[in-house]
């Protein structure tokens, strides 16, 4: 499940969806990203997030397909919020269910790393010294992109 949405989401709803109906799931790993009060600069008061409707969802689906090829995983949920977000709000959720914990950890970390490197989403920090578009960190870059 992939969703790009302005609305918030609920961790327990996502957990239930990842758990599924069967009894072959042994591990659920989730990552939640929050708006924090420092980023490129200090004094961040909120974020504005923009995406490329259509391509964003396709790019995330391609990452999920790759994760299914590389690891033994059962279900994934990726939610990314867009629009204006305040401090402390949830920005992004990546959840992976697997029979095995190592696959769940590896796939979850891969999905959020690859999302930051290659999915068309852009963050603008609103701050005490004005607004500015966040620059991509060298550590978030992927070779060949």
């Amino acid at each position: 499940m992939i969703s790009i949405q302005t609305a918030d989401f609920a961790p327990d709803v996502e957990y239930q969806a990842l758990r599924g109906e069967g009894e072959d799931t042994g591990a659920i790993v989730t990552f939640t990203g929050l708006v924090r009060d420092f980023g490129d600069r200090q004094g961040v008061t909120g974020l504005f997030l923009e995406h490329y409707p259509g391509m964003t969802e396709q790019a995330i689906q391609a990452l999920i397909d790759q994760a299914h090829q590389r690891w033994q995983i059962q279900r994934t949920r990726v939610i990314h919020r867009v629009g204006n977000l305040d401090l402390g709000e949830r920005i992004v959720f990546v959840g992976v269910a697997s029979a095995h914990r190592k696959d769940a950890f590896a796939a979850c970390e891969y999905l959020i790393d690859a999302l930051k490197a290659s999915v068309p989403l852009w963050k603008k920090e609103r701050g005490t010294d004005g607004d500015h578009w966040v620059e991509q960190k060298a550590s978030d870059r992927q070779p060949g992109f």
Binding site: Y52, M55, I91, V92, L115, S118, L121
Partner: protein, 86 residues
């Protein structure tokens, strides 16, 4: 021969600085993304940054592309800064 056009989209910092989120450009057979970038950069002013020092990412029909990618009529071309989601 009827005119062939592509739609060009801009996102994030580029969208704001160019004050444009979408435009339609005529293209000729054999034109590449690089040709479109050159034509837009030639407008000067803020448009020059499309061939400046800062990297510009390219997508054609919602798939990542390069300046050498050839264009066809009705293609959707997008230019945007390196991504920063997550």
């Amino acid at each position: 021969m009827s005119e062939t056009t592509v739609t060009v989209l801009f996102f994030a910092r580029l969208r704001e600085e160019l004050e444009t989120d979408r435009l339609t450009l005529p293209v000729s057979p054999g034109d590449t993304v690089g040709d479109v970038l050159s034509r837009l950069a030639a407008r000067g002013g803020r448009w020059a940054q499309l061939q400046g020092d800062q990297p510009v990412m390219i997508a054609v029909n919602q798939t990542m592309a390069r300046p050498g990618t050839a264009l066809s009529g009705d293609d959707e071309v997008a230019f945007f800064p390196p991504v920063t989601g997550g």
